[in-house]
Symmetry: C2
Subunit: 217 residues, 2 copies
């Protein structure tokens, strides 16, 4: 699905390339994403520049813009891969009881942010132009990452219809995200990962204990 949309996007800029050209195009595309990932992981998003990328990927600056409309779209591809990696960690987490499952998901998210700080940072600090809307394929990747939280919530609140469950799941994901984001932020006065982990556990425990009591009619 993602592949298909990317092809379509490529076709717009490259005017329906012939098979050999399309293959080269696709190869460069993958090379650019891998190079950008490396730069973001090791140096951070703010060090991503077209000129350096071109040198490292062995192409001209113009060739980059043949493949991606602008760097924002390349960053979106890297961020989608980051979301897939977070999703994979969350998929591997879990537990039978809702509380164990939610704690394990929150810890998986915290661990990813700690282990891949710059990459995780790029996910939330990449600013698209204000009028830009994330493309559908990207929203789908995001929703996939959010979705792991819904199974334990459905156990806690079997009465909730799917849309309400989705909104609640996103809310709890965002709540954990907020604690991780402010907790790791130097500017706010970071207090270390163990205290942060305990803080997140307390809030997740409270949510889990209280959720069955909340009137959601």
């Amino acid at each position: 699905m993602v592949q298909e949309k990317n092809e379509r996007r490529s076709n717009i800029s490259a005017q329906a390339p012939r098979p050999a050209t399309a293959l080269r195009h696709q190869g460069l595309r993958e090379e650019l994403i891998a190079t950008a990932e490396r730069v973001i992981e090791t140096q951070g998003l703010e060090h991503l520049r077209a000129r350096d990328l071109a040198v490292q990927a062995g192409c001209s600056v113009g060739a980059i813009y043949n493949v991606f409309t602008d760097l924002d779209w390349l960053i979106l591809e890297v961020n989608a891969n980051t979301l897939r990696a977070i999703g994979a960690k969350m998929a591997a987490a879990g537990g039978a009881a809702p509380l164990d499952c939610l704690l394990s998901l929150a810890n998986a998210y915290l661990d990813y942010a700690v282990d891949h700080r710059r990459r995780w940072d790029a996910l939330f600090n990449h600013r698209m132009p204000l009028d830009a809307v994330a493309p559908d394929w990207f929203i789908e990747v995001q929703n996939q990452a959010f979705s792991y939280i819904e199974a334990p919530l459905a156990q806690l609140r079997p009465d909730l219809p799917v849309p309400a469950l989705g909104l609640l799941g996103r809310g709890i994901f965002a709540a954990v995200h907020g604690m991780v984001a402010l907790g790791l932020d130097q500017r706010v006065g970071s207090y270390g990962v163990p205290a942060l982990r305990a803080q997140i556990a307390t809030v997740v425990r409270a949510i889990t204990a209280g959720l069955p009591e909340v009137d959601l009619t």
Copy 2:
């Protein structure tokens, strides 16, 4: 306190200015903060440039760097004012019962973010250099904003010692912040303020209902 530290910072760059110079210095300082606030509020942090600031404040670019080591310190002053404004909104919120109080605080925070989007954005998207640590006076302003949440939490958990209450308060502040941040973010697929408000209310209700049950020993 803030004043005192700023004076000290100014003195370092201006080498103990004489009274008249110090007064001019202070006047320019306030003018620059007000101008930067205007730019951030109307155009956003990414449009803040020393050259434009100098034109608008009627000084030279060099004069800016006589007052602030670099733009990061000017932005920090604007962000401190933003935190004070958020704090004032939260101070005016409240309610007798812990739940009413926590809901009212969360709504005050959401309302500020919606009404002053670019300013609120600057607070969380201003990146200091990775090795920079926020100065003590800024941390104090932040802690003041976090503190409003502690009174209702102390009602819910009178057993908690002050440090644990502080960590919990920060966690719940961060959780609400995370929901506001992801909920208003176009890239994540924003779903509108009323749904966001309902989402926040559900999570805050769950936390309030569950918190007395959580074993925190």
